[in-house]
Amino acid sequence: MSYYSATDHFVLLPAILLALFGCAVLLLDFVFSGLRRAALLTFTLLGLAFCGAALWRQQAYLNSGLGELTAFGGALTIDRFALFFNWLFLGASALVAIVSLAYLDRKKTGPSEYYALMLFAQCGMFFLAAGTDLVTLFIGLELMALSFYVMVGFLRREKRSNEAAMKYLLLGAFSSGILAYGFSILYGISGSTRLSDIATAVAARGAHDPVLFLALATTAAGALFKISAVPFHMWAPDAYEGAPTTVTAYLAVASKAAAFALLLRLLLGPLESARAIWSPILAVVAVATMTLGNLAAISQNNIKRLLAYSSIAHAGYILLGLVAGNETGIQGVSVYLLVYTVMTTGAFFVVLTMSGGEDIADLGGLAKRKPWLAMLMLLFLLSLAGLPPTAGFWGKYYIFLALIQTGHYTLAVIATLYIAVALYYYFRIVRFMFASDAENPAPETSFGLRLALGVTAALTLGIGLYPEPFLKMAQSSLIGTP
């Protein structure tokens, strides 16, 4: 058996491109020290475009019906699941990269490492979505996490950014350790790091095996940390608040989506036969996550903290899709992550325009000064709350339907009632924007920001009104569909 082939190369291509462009961005800034920032952004976008082209080729390969692409003896698999998530990461990276330019200018901080870190982080996410081997997955997770630790602390002159980075780093390292422990047990019971081998070993163990339970609990804890589910959510509000807003947006969507990819790969792959153990645990975690996220968000005054808690609550909803666990539920996870990415980046981009403070009150009177900006924020908030006809509704629709199909009626009622709670705190923002006459500094927008806002708003409304193509895409991305 040969250890390196053309197929391996083809599968790995997006990651190679991301890593190469990441290094090149670093070098470019080093070699041509006077380089304009816009040039770096262009170069980064070029890298993303190349990565997109590689993904496109892989998609074409899958469409031609030749089956899945596996590489390195099963350590990496490109299936529709991996591609769906990679497109999501690519979209999030491109949007965040575009809006970062003006933001970094405003914060007077160096751009080059920033873009390089973004590309490295996305490279890590690639492995999280495509990895089918414990080692690959772990390295992907660490590559992503390390890049994020630096990015969260990117405003090195600001105390809060430093504090956020330190907190995220310490807790993140701790959770990685727990995850590694879980992986080691999985390796111990199966003698292999390949997910397919582990699946066989787990299935042979029976559902109530204590070792399996330990492996499951530790693995899940590591992944749940990254998606900021209760009780591993403590880092999120501080990290979200302290990080540069662009990084917050990136962290909230891309990092969370990648961690969900990891969770799905593990739970629906090797640990599928242990569903009887993890399903009730996840149900409790999901309800606790929704409860804490929604209730804590009510009393927040800082808008980034509020969105942090709301993103915790969203993680709870997405977990419910896994709890339901049928086809609709898993499709719901994909749809939810897609719409969540769109609407959350959109909401954070509006926060980016705030040139004064970042409290809710600082949005006061926005409707008078910039009506279109207030309207966009309203759209994003309605979508976050899950009202039709916006994109956010479709995520909730699938989750509720899946819960009803699988007979989880109590969970369904709890989840629907939290919509009202969520609406209450989202509408606190709306109230300030529309009903307050406060005089706040004018919002600052750049061309890139307006572009990104336009794209996210169009998608939020577009997916809401005509979701058919997006639902089809999510449907084909289920694990196991060739």
Binding site: A412, V413, T416, L423, P467
Partner: protein
Amino acid sequence: MTDHLLSIVLCTPLVGLLVLLVIPSENRSLLRIWANVAAFAGFLVSLPLVFRFNSSASGFQFVERADWIPSLGVHYAIGIDGISLLLVMLSTVIGLIAVLCSWVSVETRVKGYYAMFLLLQVGIIGVFVSLDAFLFYVFWELVLIPMYFIIGLWGGPRRLYAAIKFFLFTLVGSVLMLLGLLALYYLHLQQFGYYSFEISELMKLNLPLATQQWIFWALFFGFAVKVPMFPLHTWLPDAHVEAPTGGSVVLASVMLKMGTYGFMRFSLPLLPQASADRMIVQIIAVLSIIAILYGALVSLVQQDWKKLVAYSSVSHMGFCTLGIFALNANGLVGSVIQQVSHGITTGLLFLLVGMVYERRHTREIGNFGGLAQVMPKFAVAFAIAMFASAGLPLLSGFVGEFTILQGAFQANRTWAVWAVFGVVLAAAYLLWLYQRTMLGKITHDENRLLRDLSWREGAVLLPLIAWTFWIGIYPKPYFDILAKPVAEIVARTHK
């Protein structure tokens, strides 16, 4: 029928809204004129519905159907029967009047105000014409957002509290309703092997009683909050009192009917056994009677003119739900007529309160007295509205309430006896209100110089006054239009 009349009715306010958005917000008079033109156009295009409606045909008319989200079985399916026809007409008329009556009373953010009304109009008409449960839900939620802003931005001193309370109450109800609809949708997949939200498809379902009961209660919350039925009514007085006049009019006259319409379009036909279940019928009848009596008693002690009218809505809507759950032809026909009549009379009462408020900037009943001397035309209009609301023969309220009581009497004599007390109390609080505000000596000097109705105000009131006389004197067309659809619903529940 292949023409798109109903879509045109639905889209006219939307087109009006889009044009409105490009008018610069400084140009207030153009905004006002355009909004009124758009609302009038919305009324005009709905008129052919009446002339071309065939009341002897059964089923839905003006049906249009197209795929929307094929993979989920969601359709753009619209159509009307006699019940929806009356409510659509009520919506277009009230929509026009609500826009018209805001001509001078709204001074700030004129563009946003009219935009919200036109958007509201799309949502309301959409609710009444949807033949697809999903489409219905989308319009149902769409209504909330403009109403939140109308109350929250142009309302009275406690407007923000009232607006969010209204939003949250309705939202909790409607998400539970969504769960119920999703359950029906899933059961349809199980029984027929494909997804569909269409009402005609969901009607084919054959469900055990226990399932029907669960789904009934899920839907019940959505509809009962909107009506509002007794323990869920507390948002209503706040919302009505704080809303601007136009908002109150649309809220009371049309939006409350969304709830009763939901019962008639979804609960009864889709869950016939649960709706006819002894226990459920008893509960709802008792809640309705409590609403009738409680609403009336609370109205009796109100010191605020507008709040009195608001609580009287709770009482009158109690008649509507009682009529529906009498589950016989009289009850249902009476309920629909009472809904239209309540739309007209409460609309009138809110308009009149608004006109007084614009002149005096108070609604405290104690601040008035003897207004009939200074405002004779106003006093006449108010008297007609009051008598219509109280159910005086030859006016619309009588026809509705009398038919409901007939239906209730057939269903259960005790209900009818209790409900009659509601009619008596209604006469009491309305006549007492009239006496305290209009009759007697002028007790406050500020009131001596009040202007009587202007021609514009008269134009706002006259169509509604004419309509209440029409229903009161010659209600036959209404009975004819309602006979078929009501018979179909009754037949389903008595299977």
